[in-house]
Symmetry: C2
Subunit: 341 residues, 2 copies
């Protein structure tokens, strides 16, 4: 199975996506397709896939590609050549990749892909929609308040609170606010990145756990890890995190908690995330499990959480959701035409 990893993209997480791709290149057989800041596509020579290739602009010397029906094409002297892969992997974090754009492009141009479909993208990328979806399923998630940039209302929670842009991932623009004096700066920071922010109570010392997986026939679930972190994961730590090779330690959990996480994972996965390997971030507080976030394009596909990552990846590639076949037969127009005669 040959994969086509798509990474980069116009996103605050552009650089994280590059790091993700670097982490995957030694793990899977793949072509690597980069979306640059102008949204041009480049076929990246795997042996040169290093972060400096992008920051230096050197990647522009590699072959430029065009996205068309069925794939990515490289112009040749006589005819164009398709980049050969069986299944694309969406590895664009944040905007372009997680907001539904890349899913749409790949579906429109009939390219099979691993990654969230359009609805799964939109629901997981928007923290308000994530909350509404979880409420609907009866899955615990922290209470929240939504603020619009143009309509700031008084906080409904006591301090400390955590402030997050409604649409980003990777902790970008996120602040913990301990008292009123810190609020307006934290809001300014979050509104730099988004017109809407989500506010939640910040629970001191809450335990956080990550579980990744997918459904391909049956469910393939990773280990549950308690990530090592400071107050919360910061941007630079991810550079180290995605490339981890040491074995992940299965989290120690009191009885029942693991089962609750797995149950919530399965419930929220189906059918919205068919086709994707997602990572769900849980909180555990006073014996209650809460879903904190759904990452539909997790960093380096959370490969480090799996004992054997290639098995679920390949199973998923063979079990992708099929687009519905819609007959377009001009039945109504024909019936009106014949009625006119």
């Amino acid at each position: 199975m040959q994969f086509g990893v798509i990474f980069g993209g116009v996103s605050y997480e552009h650089e994280i996506s590059i790091v993700s791709a670097i982490a995957l290149k030694d793990i899977i057989e793949a072509e690597f397709i980069f979306i640059d800041k102008k949204r041009d596509f480049y076929l990246i020579d795997k042996s040169k896939l290093k972060s400096k290739l992008f920051s230096s602009g050197e990647y522009t010397k590699m072959p430029k590609l065009e996205l068309k029906k069925g794939g990515f094409y490289q112009k040749g002297l006589l005819k164009e050549k398709r980049v050969e892969f069986d299944v694309a992997i969406n590895l664009v974090h944040g905007g372009d990749g997680e907001d539904g754009k890349l899913a749409s492009l790949l579906e429109f141009f009939a390219i099979p892909y691993i990654g969230p479909r359009i609805e799964g993208s939109v629901v997981s990328y928007n923290k308000l929609l994530t909350k509404l979806y979880l409420y609907h399923l009866g899955i615990n998630t922290l209470d929240f308040q939504l603020l619009h940039k143009e309509k700031i209302e008084p906080l409904k929670f006591d301090y400390p609170v955590i402030i997050k842009p409604c649409h980003l991932g990777s902790s970008i623009g996120v602040s913990v606010v301990r008292d009123e004096s810190e609020l307006s700066y934290a809001l300014d920071v979050a509104f730099e990145f988004d017109n809407e922010v989500i506010i939640e109570p910040f629970i001191e010392g809450v335990k956080e756990y990550n579980l990744a997986g997918c459904k391909a026939g049956n469910f393939y679930l990773s280990k549950i890890e308690e990530p090592v972190k400071g107050e919360f994961l910061d941007f630079e730590k991810k550079y180290l995190d995605f490339g981890r090779t040491e074995e992940v330690k299965e989290a120690e959990l009191v009885p029942g908690i693991r089962e609750q996480m797995i149950e919530s994972f399965k419930k929220l996965y189906e059918p919205l995330f068919y086709g994707a390997i997602i990572r769900v971030d849980f909180f555990v507080h006073r014996g209650q499990v809460y879903v904190n976030e759904i990452n539909a394009v997790p960093g380096s596909l959370a490969n480090y959480l799996f004992e054997d990552f290639l098995t679920p990846l390949q199973a998923l590639a063979r079990n992708l959701p099929k687009p519905r076949a819609i007959p377009i037969d001009y039945h109504y127009i024909n019936s009106i035409q014949s009625a006119k005669k």
Copy 2:
């Protein structure tokens, strides 16, 4: 202002979109771009834009287009030629147009457009997400039950109920079920079109009203019409409806109801539907206003509901939401590179 109307698409409502385009061609200055069932693009000669052009396959003799950065291009002998328009109009009803795909394509390729953005598309196209969004805003909508094709549960409502595919518009696959004997057939019909269906109580003699509009600086709202209908609008009636030229009669409403509709319209419009002309379908029952449906790409843009359609259309074209400028400056990679030195 020159428009580029995009219509057709892979959708159960492909033919409705053709009718929509025909209805618009005498109203606005536009180029017409057709997406056929293979998802090829064609530039349609406006003087030949009739339903038979498509059912006969004759459209394939017109110039084929390619979608690329900045627009749709026609191959020429020496160089390619861009189809000239200022703003695209998404007139693809149902799949491709309303599910977020077309919004994604147009944003990715930096083509300004009138129509719902990706999130507005996904939320209005999925009746479950519409309900969750309306609940969140505190806007009345009928209670519902969601059934999955693979997990059919007992009805939670008394008969009669109405059964709708979760994702379609234009009454396709919709049935009113008056007793148990009709249920399984109605479910079969709906599951033909979708893996999820929404069930609502069916209210005999409920009043239905349509209100269209957009925000472009201020709100531009249409008349409120009580559509003439049988049990519900059927597919063929739309052919007549979109092309209406006689003046629409402003609905007679008891005091307060109009104001409630307008208030709900404005509340649900912002910010999710910026950039779009939407039509909201309301129910009024026992003095209560309910939102039944949000049509983010309404038939022929609901032009017939406006006294002066060109004013809001042009105002909207001048006031489209701007994509956020995301700096990609390799700040983190550069800082890691320099730390390594």
